[in-house]
């Protein structure tokens, strides 16, 4: 009896010790603090308390808006221009599906597509004979109706399913093998088909981070360098007379010049970043905190130009998400990483 009474009084004392804490804090925080000092410090850190404060504010007391500066920022991005390259597994999978399809579809009847004794018909016959009587152009020597039709899988290390090889085979097939007179062309008369541009551009090879034709299969973001040497997205303080998106547009014009065709995607911020204020011992402000709201923008054409920028930026770069991770301070990147696509 006595022991149970002792236990209940101990529990009551524990509960009594923090009367001003809100309900959610009381339930989430542990009921068994080993050290009062450590607990107080933990609370102070969790609630960003001033030095003399021991308990967090009850929500409806003094607002702390005066301790923060409100800032707007624009995350200007260039959408990827190319689809991503396929993985070797995807290549192999699609190749297998094509061979499987060879077995299941109806046969190709060339008389339905080529009129007899025309140049196109002769062209088809020449190429068909060169492929060894195979209709498919890029599937290797696979006879879908033959005795070895079951043997449709590629062996490890085979390059038959490679995307570049397939494209080259198709482009080779596209060149005309018939002369204008309707005769078979000699090897020196064949005009090769124009090859498409490579996926890797000149800017990629030089790693020119100020060019927009770099990393064509990934999103690029505009990062600018402050006078202090720190990199960030174009940011500025907001006046009381403008909205977030208006401020974002103003910041973009002020930072990167008017020589861009841009589009601010929405009026809702896509990310936010908070820098906590620093207080002196007497609870007066040493430095104000910052609350930055990021808006999303797209660049369609043009290029950034920092020559006449009024925000004091020294340099700019167009970078991918991975490159930004190395450039930005970690807490800053953590705040904005979730709005950036993986690619």
């Amino acid at each position: 009896m006595a022991s149970s009474l002792r236990g209940s009084s101990a529990a009551a004392a524990l509960l009594r010790r923090r009367p001003n804490i809100c309900a959610s804090c009381r339930t989430t925080q542990s009921l068994r603090p080993y050290s009062v000092a450590a607990e107080a410090q933990a609370t102070a850190e969790a609630h960003h308390l001033k030095p003399t404060q021991s308990e967090p504010h009850v929500p409806f007391t003094v607002p702390r808006t005066a301790e923060y500066r409100l800032r707007s920022s624009i995350i200007l991005s260039r959408a990827p221009l190319l689809t991503r390259p396929l993985t070797p597994f995807e290549d192999a999978f699609f190749f297998y599906q094509k061979r499987l399809n060879e077995r299941l579809t109806t046969e190709f009847r060339h008389s339905m597509f080529f009129k007899k004794d025309t140049a196109a018909d002769l062209d088809w016959r020449i190429k068909f004979a060169e492929r060894g009587g195979l209709v498919a152009k890029e599937l290797g020597r696979y006879y879908a109706k033959g005795r070895n039709a079951w043997n449709d899988e590629l062996l490890v290390g085979s390059t038959l399913s490679d995307t570049n090889r397939i494209r080259e085979t198709l482009l080779k097939d596209a060149e005309s093998r018939v002369t204008e007179d309707g005769e078979k062309a000699k090897p020196d008369e064949i005009v090769p088909a124009e090859k498409p541009q490579p996926r890797i551009t000149e800017s990629d090879q030089k790693n020119d981070v100020r060019k927009l034709d770099r990393k064509l299969d990934q999103t690029l973001y505009l990062a600018v360098k402050k006078a202090s040497g720190e990199w960030q997205f174009p940011t500025d303080d907001m006046s009381t007379e403008e909205n977030l998106h208006q401020a974002a547009q103003r910041i973009l014009d002020a930072a990167a010049g008017p020589n861009m065709n841009t589009w601010i995607v929405g009026r809702v911020p896509v990310a936010h970043h908070v820098v906590q204020p620093v207080f002196k011992e007497d609870t007066s402000l040493a430095t104000k905190g910052e609350k930055t709201f990021f808006l999303k923008g797209r660049i369609m054409a043009g290029q950034a130009d920092l020559k006449e920028n009024t925000l004091g930026y020294r340099d700019f770069k167009w970078l991918t998400k991975d490159e930004l991770k190395e450039l930005f301070p970690e807490p800053y990147f953590k705040s904005v990483r979730n709005m950036m696509a993986d690619r």
Binding site: L81, T105, T106, F113, L171
Partner: protein
């Protein structure tokens, strides 16, 4: 009886194999009945005909800006070059000036036509909307020039003359005709007026 696959054999041990009952008789699940019927399940594989599909080739499509992609198609041509698509159409490239319908007059035929017949046949340019901004601009221009109210008024009237007056596209042609007309005709017209 034909030879059966193991899967087609009856699973339940049957007491009599001599009975010649109809196998399509309704099966009973009740265990009270002595299993006299020869219950055989038929699980023959049936041939399901696949729908007929045309033969599919792989084709490279090259868009007008040179970008390519491959797709599956019934066409036996392995390369198709597009001449007009989203990459060189005005709707998808609103900022591209070269795609806009700008008058090309390399041979000077349009200039020759205008010299002979005037500009009366030109398509009418759309009127720019002169709202509050336009008025402000006009005032700003006036204040820059001299700051007089008269100037501002003059600018306003000039804007009105340009855009608000109903512009007759054939007026130019008619006036030119009247200018070029011989004098005697004009005199003949003028005479009855005097009388």
């Amino acid at each position: 009886m034909a030879t059966r696959l193991p899967t087609a054999l009856p699973r339940r041990p049957t007491t009599s194999t001599l009975s010649t009952f109809n196998t399509l008789a309704p099966q009973t699940t009740s265990s009270n009945i002595i299993p006299t019927l020869q219950q055989t399940q038929t699980r023959n594989a049936r041939l399901i005909k696949r729908p007929k599909r045309p033969y599919a080739f792989t084709q490279v499509i090259q868009l007008s800006d040179g970008s390519t992609f491959t797709m599956r198609t019934a066409s036996p041509h392995s390369l198709v070059k597009s001449t007009k698509d989203t990459r060189n159409h005005v709707m998808w490239n609103p900022s591209e000036k070269s795609l806009k319908n700008i008058e090309v007059d390399e041979a000077g035929k349009l200039a020759a036509f205008r010299e002979r017949y005037g500009r009366g046949w030109d398509a009418q340019a759309p009127k720019p909307e002169l709202g509050a901004e336009g008025a402000e601009d006009a005032e700003a221009m006036a204040s820059k020039k001299g700051g007089d109210k008269k100037d501002a008024k003059a600018v306003e009237t000039s804007f009105e003359d340009k855009f608000n007056s109903t512009y007759d596209p054939l007026g130019d042609l008619i006036s030119q005709y009247a200018v070029g007309a011989p004098d005697d005709k004009g005199a003949k017209v003028a005479k009855p007026k005097k009388k």
